[in-house]
Amino acid sequence: MADNSSSNAYWKANVRIILISLAIWFACSFGMGIILRPALSGIHIGGADLGFWMAHNGSIYVFLGLIFTYAVLMNRLDREHGVEE
């Protein structure tokens, strides 16, 4: 294992990436897909309003992007801190 200060910095950086990712996760699904749907009814994606589309399709694409982005960022972070396998 790397020394303590480096491993602390690694964990802090990881938690920061997680928090930002979860903020996006929340904003797309619970935000645009549910709570904000009435407010966003003027915006359209093709034949659907934005809230409907986020709830039925859009959020899933965002989830995919989030997981793969997290995987790439963490691989980089693992290497920077020398904790990769």
Partner: protein, 639 residues
């Protein structure tokens, strides 16, 4: 060749493939039996996770639920996919680094307590057993619909197939079979969807068809707008209408998300990949394969709904439903393009009654008062209560003269209607009848049968593995006989698997009346017990044994009791304390959504109890620090 023979051949070929894989992928060690020897490529593991995750309910029922529920059913779509973000970011990599075989094992080690491990085993078994009953029913029902055997016989055949590859192959056999099952189910699901989307919107990609234009009117009108117009004219709620309770929809979505991330049979899939980095990307691949079905499902649901409605009201294809007559009984009996209606009438999933005797079948939505009268008349007819029936008939005449059919501005009497003449449309029709509605060749219908079986079998196998490993590894090796040899444990695992299959088959044959409530209980408990305790075990060094046990107990008891109050104690009909209607819910929270509240209570209890009791020992703090960094994962250790 007739349809039956074709179904038999296609299903037979897929079963032969599964058995072949079972022989090839026999498990030789406990590491192979529990975690496929940690040698599964992340993409293949993602595919297997997809098959494991997508159950008979996802394949057969979900599109139908969406079709009749519209916008608000987005809770299922977001909930059952968003959980993978939580898995990838909060659980999977750390549990893989921990490097043991089961979820209770982590809970037992992290909270240095055999009691915590035992409590986790109990939660796991309750969650997985309730879930597996639905899968066994799904296998039986699919067999009986497509292969003309009884539901019970279908269940025996399905159980024998699962037995063959799960008992001998363990996780290794299950994983590679699931890869094959994924391929079968995704092809079966998407082919009919491509054709239907092309017919309705001119775009063969269902995800684009959903937001595209409606082809029969030249594409000027959006498909969703057309669907809204058609269903509201007939008195139904608009497809894209707002949710009636955003607060409950929010909690329901959250409950499904954290429930997904807390389902043991999903979590153990991430123990099979070689490295921590693979656990992260494998969750992404799992979601890619799940998204292929989940982004198609809203198109399948909405398009099947429009197809069904315009089949009943031919004039609605290009104009308003009431511009022309409804479909006639004679047309249904004679026209080849309507043969599917007759086919599905035979199965009892679709039922029609020409109430006004005009030879036409009018499919409309009855306003609340009229619908209540219909229900009361059915009950009176069943009870042979002639006096009550006569009174209700008189009441009905009055209602028909005053109740209006939504947009038409005319009463039922003025329209010559005596009520809705399509008296039953089962949700499941939307997927099962799709190939026939779109006039696709017989082999596509056979493929849908094989796909439905693949979905049910793959999920059942994953659940059975979670159950059997909890018994052989956590109960037998973990507490009853810690000195058991590897060979002995492998044998115990196989016996536990065999036993679990027998129990699941028995419960599938004699469902205790709660098969339909599985979603509420399995997801609610996974959300309120397993997810919070795993997350705290990784992200907090302060939460201790006392906190974890108290948290799990509070989450378990609170969630189960809230569900039982509305659904009946242990789901025994008639034992519920309050009627299962929104008016009686606490703050409008339905029993389906209560897992979110249970999870919050679990977190709060654990933090408070931990704060006033002794901090965990140094060895546990070291364990938490070691699972937080990927370095040094290696193969799973066997103690």
């Amino acid at each position: 060749m007739d349809q039956f023979t074709l179904n038999l051949i296609v299903v037979g070929i897929t079963f032969a493939i599964y058995i072949g894989i079972a022989i090839w992928a026999r498990a030789g060690s406990t590491a192979e039996f529990y975690a496929a020897g940690q040698g599964v490529h992340p993409v293949l593991n993602g595919m297997a996770t997809g098959a494991d995750w997508m159950s008979a309910a996802s394949f057969i029922s979900m599109a139908g639920i969406i079709a009749f529920g519209g916008y608000a059913t987005g809770a299922y779509l977001m909930g059952w996919t968003g959980g993978y973000v939580l898995l990838a970011l909060l659980l999977a990599p750390y549990l893989r680094k921990f490097g043991k075989f089961t979820v209770p094992e982590f809970i037992g080690d992290r909270f240095y307590s055999g009691g915590a491990r035992l409590l986790a085993v109990i939660c796991l078994i309750v969650i997985s057993v309730t879930y597996v009953i639905g899968q066994m029913r799904g296998v039986g029902v699919t067999f009986s619909r497509f292969l003309e055997v009884s539901t019970d016989m279908g269940l025996y055949i399905g159980a024998a197939i699962v037995f063959a590859y799960a008992v001998f192959g363990g996780m290794k056999g299950i994983t590679y079979t699931q890869v094959a099952q994924y391929v079968v189910l995704i092809i079966a699901y998407t082919i009919p969807a491509l054709f239907i989307s092309f017919n309705l919107t001119g775009n063969p990609i269902p995800q684009l068809g959903l937001i595209g234009g409606y082809a029969p009117s030249g594409g000027d009108v959006a498909f969703l707008a057309k669907l809204d117009a058609v269903v509201t004219e007939l008195g139904f709620k608009a497809y894209t209408a707002d949710s009636s309770n955003y607060f409950d929809m929010f909690l329901f979505t959250m409950s499904l998300m954290i429930g997904t991330a807390g389902l043991p049979h999903v979590i153990i899939r991430f123990f099979t990949v070689p490295k921590v980095a693979d656990a992260r990307s494998s969750a992404g691949w799992a979601l890619v394969f799940i998204a292929l079905l989940y982004t198609v499902a809203p198109a399948v649901g909405s398009m099947a709904r429009l197809n069904l409605t315009t089949s009943m009201w031919p004039a609605a294809v290009t104009g308003n439903a009431f511009d022309g007559p409804a479909v006639s009984r004679a047309d249904i009996d004679s026209k080849p393009e309507l043969e599917w209606v007759k086919n599905w009438e035979k199965t009892g999933l679709l039922a029609m009654k020409d109430l006004n005797g005009d030879g036409l079948i009018q499919y409309v939505s009855e306003p609340a008062k009229l619908a209540a009268n219909t229900k009361a008349m059915d009950e009176a007819a069943k009870a042979k209560d002639e006096a009550k029936l006569a009174a209700l008939t008189t009441e009905r005449e009055g209602l028909l003269a005053t109740e209006q059919l939504a947009k038409t501005g005319k009463t039922f009497a003025e329209l010559g209607l005596k009520g809705n003449e399509v008296v039953k449309v089962d949700n499941d029709i939307m997927v099962l009848a799709n190939p026939e509605i779109a006039n696709l060749p017989g082999w596509v219908i056979a493929l849908v049968a094989a796909g439905a079986l693949a979905a049910a079998l793959s999920t059942a196998a994953g659940l059975l593995l979670a159950i059997s490993s909890a018994i052989s590894h956590d109960l037998i090796k973990g507490s009853i006989n810690p000195n058991i040899s590897e060979k002995g444990e492998l044998l115990a695992a196989r016996i536990a698997m065999g036993g679990a299959i027998v129990v699941a088959t028995y419960l599938g044959l004699n469902p205790p009346g709660f098969a339909a409530q599985v979603v509420a209980l399995a997801f609610g408990l996974a959300a309120a017990t397993i997810f919070p305790v795993l997350m705290m075990g990784i992200f907090s060094k302060r939460v201790n044994k006392e906190g974890a046990i108290a948290g799990m107990l509070v989450g378990l008891v609170f969630t189960a009791v809230y569900i039982f109050i509305y659904k009946g104690w242990f789901f025994i009909p008639g034992t519920n304390n309050l009627p299962d209607t929104p008016a009686n819910y606490m703050f409008g929270i339905s029993p389906l959504s209560i897992g979110t509240v249970g999870a919050v209570m679990n977190f709060l209890t654990a933090f408070v109890v931990s704060a006033i009791t002794k901090a965990p020992p140094q060895s546990v703090i070291d364990l938490v620090e070691s699972i937080r960094v990927p370095k040094g994962a290696g193969k799973a250790t066997h103690h």
